[in-house]
């Protein structure tokens, strides 16, 4: 059995701030070197298993004996206080927090919207959107330009608005509320943002129920009506998840991808020389930054043996996708950003039945943005020294607050 190191971290408060912006926190590395699965103490109280080995992380995330239901007693929560947990418990669950048959029933009706084929049909429109925002960048004499506001945020926001049928004129509202929910602002602010966004989405779904359009939610409503199972609360939960997950994450990954490539010019040269390499470059950037670390926690519902460790029913498990993606057993020289690595087995989108529903939409947006941006503005460069780029060191979703660029 693997040695427990319960006292290694005096209190693991997640997310742990990244020290170097281009590497996992030093504490992650230290723990993984000791064992792929450790026991850690949480500042929120109690203990949990900390999984940092790639193989072990996949084993946990694919195993139905681990629950995703945050409302269950003993679930390892580390970013929520009691009042926020109460708010969470009072709402219908998001797909993220469901298990087994309930999760499958919620996910199955939606996955047809995200097939590789359907997304390929969106490619020309996404290309138009990217070109439009780059046109705007090139049309201005103002320098530097904040890439976050000029490109990283508006592209995925407009794409998800069109797919879901959300008016883009409301983007300031839902962008700011989402940012608040995943930042470490006060719990009061997070609860308020959550409630406001929930009310907005409830209203949106109500409107679509009476005035359907050509969009994902209207199709879901029609599908449910046909099956005689119109579930307003369920649709609100779905809409909440898709709208919030659909722009903030991709926006952060666009900005970080640009930072990653600009700070590794030899890698950027490889990508620029052959757009055919962009898809693999995107996989490597996803692995390297793993922006949604810490969102995959589980609760064991039975005794489970993983990687030689006995996890008992009722014990919490925190899977670090970032640490797993830097596991040298799975990725040789993980600290090297290598766009030709050719490794797609990273866990940046998670693993198991909850693996990101929108992953192939995100992939396509990232590929189109990087290709188009560096083709149309080949002299793009940071307008400030790297050490002045404000990284979101402590946010739930990693990224940059702003990215001043010039050319």
């Amino acid at each position: 059995m693997t040695k427990n190191v319960a006292d290694e971290l005096a209190g693991l408060e997640l997310p742990v701030e990244r020290g170097c912006p281009f590497a996992p926190p030093a504490a992650y590395e230290r723990l993984r070197e000791q064992a792929p699965i450790n026991k850690v103490r949480l500042t929120s109280g109690g203990q949990a298993w900390w999984v940092s080995g790639h193989e072990e992380a996949r084993a946990v995330l694919a195993d139905g004996r681990f629950s995703s239901d945050k409302r269950k007693d003993g679930f390892p929560l580390f970013t929520l206080d009691a009042a926020t947990l109460q708010q969470l418990r009072s709402q219908p669950p998001l797909m993220l927090g469901m298990d087994g048959a309930e999760h499958s029933a919620a996910r199955r009706p939606v996955i047809g919207e995200f097939t590789v084929k359907r997304l390929a049909a969106l490619r020309p429109r996404i290309q138009d959107i990217v070109d439009h925002f780059i046109d705007d960048m090139l049309a201005t004499d103002r320098r530097p330009v904040d890439l976050v506001q000029a490109l990283s945020l508006p592209v995925p926001s407009l794409v998800i608005c069109e797919l879901l049928g959300v008016p883009y004129t409301d983007h300031d509202f839902f962008q700011s509320r989402t940012t608040m929910m995943v930042s470490r602002t006060s719990m009061d602010d997070r609860r308020r943002a959550f409630a406001e966004l929930r009310a907005y989405i409830d209203d949106l779904i109500t409107r679509k129920e009476s005035e359907p359009g050509d969009d994902l939610f209207s199709r879901q409503i029609a599908r449910q009506r046909q099956e005689g199972t119109l579930d307003h609360a369920g649709l609100v939960s779905l809409a909440f998840l898709l709208l919030t997950a659909g722009h903030e994450t991709t926006a952060n990954m666009i900005s970080l991808g640009v930072v990653g490539l600009l700070s590794h010019p030899e890698q950027l040269t490889v990508v620029k020389a052959d757009p055919g390499r962009t898809p693999m470059a995107v996989e490597e950037l996803l692995r390297y930054f793993t922006i949604a670390d810490g969102v995959t926690s589980r609760l064991a519902t039975e005794d489970v043996e993983i990687g030689g460790v006995s996890i008992k029913a009722g014990e919490g498990v925190i899977v670090s996708m970032l640490s797993a993606n830097w596991d040298p057993a799975a990725f040789k020289d993980p600290a090297d950003l290598d766009v030709e690595r050719g490794a797609r087995h990273h866990l940046a989108f998670g693993f198991g039945p909850h693996q990101c529903l929108g992953q192939n939409l995100a992939r396509m947006e990232l590929q189109i943005v990087f290709d188009t941006l560096f083709r149309r503005i080949p002299s793009l460069r940071l307008a400030v020294p790297m050490e002045e780029v404000p990284f979101k060191a402590d946010a739930v979703i990693y990224g940059v607050h702003e990215l001043p660029v010039t050319w």
């Binding site: 995330l61 694919a62 499958s104 996910r107 199955r108 996955i111 047809g112 919207e113 995200f114 097939t115 590789v116 084929k117 797609r344 087995h345 989108f349 998670g350 693993f351 198991g352 039945p353 693996q355 990101c356 529903l357 992953q359 192939n360």
Partner: protein, 65 residues
């Protein structure tokens, strides 16, 4: 090589389609659909890769030869 896809387990991530489109497809509901259950030798390595990438472990190799 013979492969099997458990459609009941599939979560529609599309990893298999991205990995080996000559063998894997998705139906309109996003569920895995095999274009063949006897992939040829040319596809074998990619099929094995797709099996390891499948997040819901819905794919299996029945005979690897």
């Amino acid at each position: 090589m013979r492969i099997k896809a458990e459609t009941g387990l599939c979560v529609g991530s599309g990893q298999c389609v991205l990995t080996e489109p000559a063998v894997f497809d998705q139906d309109d509901d996003g569920i895995v659909a095999l274009l063949t259950d006897h992939p040829d030798d040319q596809s074998a390595a990619q099929v094995r890769h797709a099996v390891t990438l499948c997040p819901s472990r819905a794919l299996s190799i029945l005979r690897d030869a």
